[in-house]
């Protein structure tokens, strides 16, 4: 029996825990405000808010209900538009701004925008000051085909300007009891028994795109909200991240910000707010997509992963094992792990001084898209200097440690081993960059597909590799 709160109603259901929240709210609870646009997390029409109890407070995040199994709703507060509509028929400030700025035309995507913006407002008291950019970024996962977005942008800016205000205006009164009610749900019986279960699900953001029908009828073991698998820690030698940490967890982590000064800019290139709120690091790794953004990112950090034996392991006493992330990939979607092994931790060495990191990604649409080619690089260099590649060249700046990875150029997310080895100990010069590109071109094996031709991908990786140095050392 799964228990959660849907709007103002306590739910206890024995529907398959793999059923999506979208199907549950629309067809089992008859809440038709949440719309179906694509069923693959790419349009945002089905966006709901998910409230999670953290230290006695409820934190709300927007998620696409089409990719969210009921298993991940267990113990949570799920909020649809019906759960925020004022009962007297009036409008919340978010809804009012959308009306006033003519941010709605056919109306089909509108609820998704309202939910995303409401989620933004609920998260705001801790977040100040609020810029209109932040308000707009909360709707980066919502597609509208009618308005051209300018009116929605104006609405978002207005909402941003009004914040922070008394949040009570944005949500009905019943929200004030939710924390208590969630505590009352308890966690023991709200999660399905793990022993009878076969499949695993993290955020579901890829699994439900690829195997929706199969998953919907199943009872998967949820990993997303497993607290043992979520922390981001600074240990003596390593940064250690739980496999179930979401991209948003990374984005909000002070530990990560300290190491990656452009974290926000780079992670913004990864899917969209609601997907980042769900997608886990381990999920990205095991999905083994040749263009997985986070995989390429962590390959370039030379990360290692800890694999925890699954429930079907021969002996419960089996110990976790650690392998290098780059050794996880054997071939297209082939992994060096047992199906029920779980990536419990991801570790990378704490950077030394002179550390730099860059992430590049080009797709048809800059944001909310899958890469045609993506690439990341981490390096350390010495001695310190100021200025571009030419200055580095003049000053004899040498790379001491380099890891480069690329996606979209091979059947697997590719650690560019020979390129990385070649660069170690080299001075940063135009010649080095050109020579490294020659090696890259030999290491990769891109194919022509819907995301681009082979010829384009080869040119693009050359350009993006160059872009790493332009970004890190200036032109």
């Amino acid at each position: 029996m799964l228990r959660f709160i849907l709007n103002n109603e306590g739910i206890a259901t024995d529907q398959p825990s793999g059923m999506t929240v979208l199907d549950f709210v629309r067809y089992h609870k008859n809440l038709k405000g949440t719309k179906i646009g694509c069923r693959e997390g790419d349009c945002g029409a089905c966006t709901v808010l998910v409230g999670e109890l953290i230290d006695g407070m409820v934190r709300y995040r927007s998620m696409t209900s089409c990719l969210m199994p009921l298993a991940n709703a267990a113990g949570k507060h799920i909020v649809t538009i019906e759960g925020i509509n004022p009962t007297d028929g009036s409008l919340t400030p978010v809804q009012q701004a959308m009306v006033d700025e003519s941010g709605t035309q056919c109306g089909f995507c509108t609820v998704g925008f309202v939910m995303s913006l409401t989620g933004f407002c609920l998260g705001t008291p801790t977040r100040s000051p609020v810029s209109s950019d932040q308000a707009i970024s909360s709707i980066d996962g919502n597609i509208c085909r009618c308005t051209g977005y300018k009116s929605i942008e104006r609405a978002a800016c207005r909402i941003g300007e009004q914040l922070p205000v008394n949040i009570a205006q944005y949500i009905p009164e019943y929200f004030s009891d939710i924390a208590l009610r969630l505590q009352g749900l308890g966690s023991d019986d709200s999660r399905p028994e793990t022993s009878n279960l076969r499949s695993l699900v993290g955020g579901g953001t890829d699994l439900y795109v690829q195997r929706h029908d199969q998953m919907s009828a199943s009872d998967p073991t949820p990993l997303l909200y497993d607290d043992r698998l979520r922390s981001i820690r600074n240990t003596d030698e390593h940064i250690e991240i739980g496999g179930s940490a979401t991209v948003t967890d990374l984005l909000e982590s002070p530990v990560m910000h300290a190491i990656f000064p452009h974290l926000y800019k780079h992670l913004k290139l990864v899917s969209s707010t609601p997907i980042r709120n769900m997608a886990t690091l381990a999920g990205n790794f095991v999905n083994a997509s040749p263009i997985g953004d986070m995989t390429v990112w962590f390959l370039a950090l030379d990360a290692e992963i800890e694999l925890m034996p699954g429930t079907q392991a021969p002996s419960p006493a089996s110990q976790p094992r650690t392998i290098n992330l780059k050794d996880l990939y054997l071939g297209y979607k082939q992994l060096a792990k047992q199906p029920d092994e779980i990536i419990s931790k991801v570790r990378f060495k704490k950077p030394a001084s002179g550390f730099k990191f860059n992430f590049e990604k080009v797709c048809k649409r800059t944001y909310l898209d899958i890469a045609t080619v993506n690439t990341a690089i981490s390096l350390t260099y010495s001695p310190p200097y100021e200025g571009g590649v030419a200055a580095a060249s003049a000053d004899g700046v040498v790379l001491s440690y380099v890891h480069v990875a690329a996606g979209g150029v091979a059947p697997i997310p590719l650690y560019l081993k020979r390129t990385s080895e070649f660069l170690r100990g080299k001075e940063i010069t135009e010649e080095t960059i050109a020579a490294a590109n020659e090696i890259i071109q030999a290491e990769i094996s891109p194919i022509s597909d819907v995301r681009g031709t082979e010829q384009y991908k080869r040119l693009l990786i050359r350009q993006l590799f160059r872009a790493h140095f332009v970004e890190l050392f200036g032109t």
């Binding site: 405000g33 409008l91 035309q105 056919c106 089909f108 009618c146 051209g148 977005y149 048809k364 649409r365």
Partner: protein, 751 residues
């Protein structure tokens, strides 16, 4: 005034097809569609599907009671493939089951043995094979052959244009419910309720009076639900007829994308001749339209390409020919602009080509050739032009020279980022080019409490047509818009409708509503004249709920006037008919006066290209747009912004990809990209063209649905200009300008 649906939209209370409460016993349909693009069907095996849980019936072509045909213009489109398949995604069988999941599951169990035949996806190949859906059409003005002989400068070239997926966020769908005596009520997400009614009647062999089609609203249409909504309604109708149960089918996104047609891709040749003053003397164009496997609306789309082949320019000698080529793609269909954008892209390419050879900015050639009052379009109509005015007002406000200088200065100091600027004038004719379609009806009831109900043939799909119709009724009666309710579009209330298309729905249905309201108002005022002792009904008006006599408030309220009229047995209802006056077209010589009026405008588009990565951003679209006199600026501005962004999408990131076997590769939102909030222009500025000319638009408020889309074409040429400031090699004319094409053009030597 805001869209009247805004309030229910933001509360999620507006009802779309998939939200309609289901009748008890409703079944669900799912289609088994062809996995290959062309072939002979040897056998279809439905036995496994029939054994599946919940399956009530599997239907193939042989089961149809009526005719297996839904082709509107040419009967070349079977509802279910019979004997042959002509495109990937062509429906072959219908599974009807007790739930959506079970229907979908069972459909996957159907197999068909299909012997493959040659697949053609290229319209030029189809033309070479003489595989044309209708005979070619040609527009001629003057004598191009003679004119080219006298031209000092003649340039020839070729353009390629890709299609565009509509990507209405609400997918296609229908729901059919059996009524007594074998009748049907069909809910449909369609722009053309009458087209759905006809298609349903044809496949069920029912007379039209037994089939009611009802449309509440669409979650976007953009032309994609004009004729292409018919199949799904017909499928539900057939299934309902055979099972005697209500049947619903709301398509999944991937089904929708692979089974429905899109904007027509074109391959075209042009030849342009100029004199030394940059005056275009002669223009020839040949258009190869990729129509797909069936006619659908391809011929009128093709015709509009010809109507708009010279865009906003006057060219004295024009020969334009268009071929409607049959290929093995899903039948391509209407999409905002309806062939017009494709015609405009080619003339703009020809001008850009000529400008490059002359070493001048394309805007110089554009400006010198703008059509003026009295100039003749290639189809014989004389222009009442705002082309020059809109250009001048745009230039005065936005200063084209300064914008160009700003880009040039930036480019001189930037290594990897380059800016480009382009101007896109637009001239778009308003009316269905098939004259008989320019008619509409409106049914208006005034109830005894003073509230008003209106029904028309217009379908609300976000464009605000119901808002404008409510405004018309409220304005004529002098009452508050809140006292007017525009009801569903329903074939029982309004018969024989034209589809909501061609930007014309507000004009046609608004005018019909105006006529109906005028008639009722005059009857009411005849009653009021006696009650308030006015000399003439012309002295009367209604404001703030009261009748006014010579602008003086009387004690007679609107509601009591209505009740009194009812007691006097005065008719408080009216069904009015409107037909656009003065339009005609003769296809025997391709001349006439097909358009009620034209909409004009001029946009300046600026972009920045990241020449390291091949990405780009649109910095601004600044346009002067001809509204006539807008009756609702909020709605009209929304149409302009939305149209511009959709046009930019078509020109940039939206790439429909079919492989050589005719399979759609860009078959989901993960592979087909429409603009998101970050890919729209940073600035869209719209200047209202000041003009006081009378026109045939409702309340002088010109149609606004389609014309702004074509401003987006400017983005293509702005990107092209930016590339030209990075490399001295000129890109061809091949849209969309995806980041791939941009990068390959930036580094042509690597290509």
């Amino acid at each position: 005034m805001k869209n009247i649906d805004s309030h229910s939209h933001v509360r999620g209370e507006s009802i779309y097809l998939d939200d309609i409460p289901l009748v008890e016993g409703t079944l669900f349909a799912c289609v088994f569609d062809s996995p290959i693009a062309h072939g002979k069907i040897k056998s279809i095996d439905t036995s496994e599907a029939e054994k599946c849980d919940g399956v009530v019936r599997v239907i193939t072509a042989k089961d149809l009671i009526g005719e297996n045909q839904i082709g509107g213009i040419v009967p070349d489109e079977p509802l279910l493939a019979d004997g042959e398949v002509h495109f990937c995604g062509q429906p072959i069988a219908i599974v009807v089951a007790t739930s959506e999941e079970l229907a979908r599951k069972a459909a996957k169990k159907i197999t068909a043995e299909i012997e493959p035949l040659e697949v053609v996806t290229d319209p030029r190949v189809a033309a070479a094979n003489s595989d044309l859906i209708v005979p070619p059409k040609t527009f001629v003005l003057g004598d191009t052959a003679a004119a080219f002989m006298d031209c000092e400068f003649v340039f020839e070239g070729r353009t390629e244009q890709n299609g565009q997926e509509h990507l209405y966020i609400e997918t296609q769908g229908a729901y059919a419910v059996p009524m007594e005596n074998g009748g049907l009520k069909v809910y449909s997400s369609t722009q053309g309720p009458t087209a759905v009614q006809r298609a349903v009647c044809r496949v069920t062999a029912l007379p039209m009076h037994k089939v009611e089609v009802d449309v509440q609203r669409l979650g976007g249409g953009f032309g994609g639900k004009e004729d292409q909504a018919n199949a799904w309604a017909a499928i539900c109708a057939v299934a309902t007829q055979l099972t005697k149960k209500p049947v619903k089918y709301a398509l999944h996104r991937m089904e929708d994308m692979r089974m429905t047609g899109k904007r027509h891709p074109y391959s075209s040749d042009y030849k342009i001749g100029l004199d030394k003053n940059l005056k275009i003397v002669a223009y020839e164009a040949t258009f190869y339209q990729n129509a797909g496997a069936a006619c659908d609306l391809s011929p009128p789309v093709l015709e509009r390409t010809l109507f708009h082949c010279t865009n906003s320019y006057y060219i004295p000698n024009v020969t334009a020919t268009a071929y409607c080529c049959r290929t093995n793609l899903p039948p391509n269909t209407a999409f905002r602009g309806f062939g017009g954008p494709q015609g405009m892209f080619v003339i703009e390419s020809a001008i850009a080509h000529a400008a490059e050879k002359f070493g001048v900015s394309a805007s110089e050639i554009q400006r010198r050739n703008l059509i003026d009052d009295g100039d003749e379009f290639p189809y014989g109509q004389k222009a009442e032009s705002e082309a020059i005015t809109s250009w001048t007002q745009a230039d005065e406000k936005y200063d084209l020279a300064a914008l160009q200088k700003e880009a040039d200065d930036f480019n001189a100091n930037s290594k990897y980022f380059k800016k480009g600027v382009a101007v896109m004038p637009v001239c778009f004719g308003i009316s269905f080019t098939k004259t008989p379609m320019n008619q509409a009806r409106s049914l208006v009831h005034v109830y005894t409490d003073g509230s008003v109900a209106v029904s028309t043939g217009a379908v609300e799909m976000g464009q605000g047509v119901n808002t404008k119709i409510a405004q018309v009724a409220a304005t004529v009666f002098g009452i508050d818009v809140a006292d007017v309710k525009v009801h569903t579009t329903n074939t029982l209330r309004i018969a024989n409708t034209s589809p909501t298309a061609a930007s014309a729905a507000a004009d046609l249905n608004g005018k019909a509503t105006q006529l109906a309201c005028d008639t009722i108002r005059n009857r009411l005022f005849e009653v009021a004249k006696e009650l308030v002792e006015a000399a003439s009904i012309n002295d009367l008006s209604v404001r703030d709920g009261f009748v006014f006599r010579n602008d003086e408030k009387t004690s007679l309220t609107w509601a009591s006037l209505v009740m009194e009229a009812h007691l006097q047995r005065v008719n408080l209802s009216e069904h009015a008919h409107y037909a656009t006056p003065g339009i005609h077209f003769d296809w025997t010589n391709a001349k006439g006066h097909p358009f009620a009026y034209h909409v004009y405008g001029t946009a300046i588009v600026g972009v920045t290209v990241d020449c390291l990565r091949g990405r780009y951003e649109v910095d601004y679209v600044k346009c002067c747009h001809d509204f006539g006199t807008s009756m609702n600026t909020a709605v009209d501005l929304g149409q302009i912004e939305g149209g511009i962004v959709q046009g930019i999408g078509w020109m940039t990131m939206e790439e429909v990809v079919y492989d050589a076997d005719g399979r759609l590769r860009s078959n989901a939102l993960s592979t087909y990209k429409v603009p998101d909030i970050y890919s729209v222009p940073k600035e869209i500025d719209v200047l209202q063209l000041e003009t006081s000319r009378n026109n045939l638009a409702i309340f002088n408020s010109k149609a606004v649905g389609e014309p702004p889309l074509m401003y987006g074409i400017g983005a293509y040429f702005a990107i092209r200009n930016a590339i030209k400031s990075f490399t001295d090699r000129s890109p061809g004319f091949d849209c969309p300008f995806t980041p791939e094409k941009v990068l390959l053009n930036l580094y042509p030597d690597e290509s």
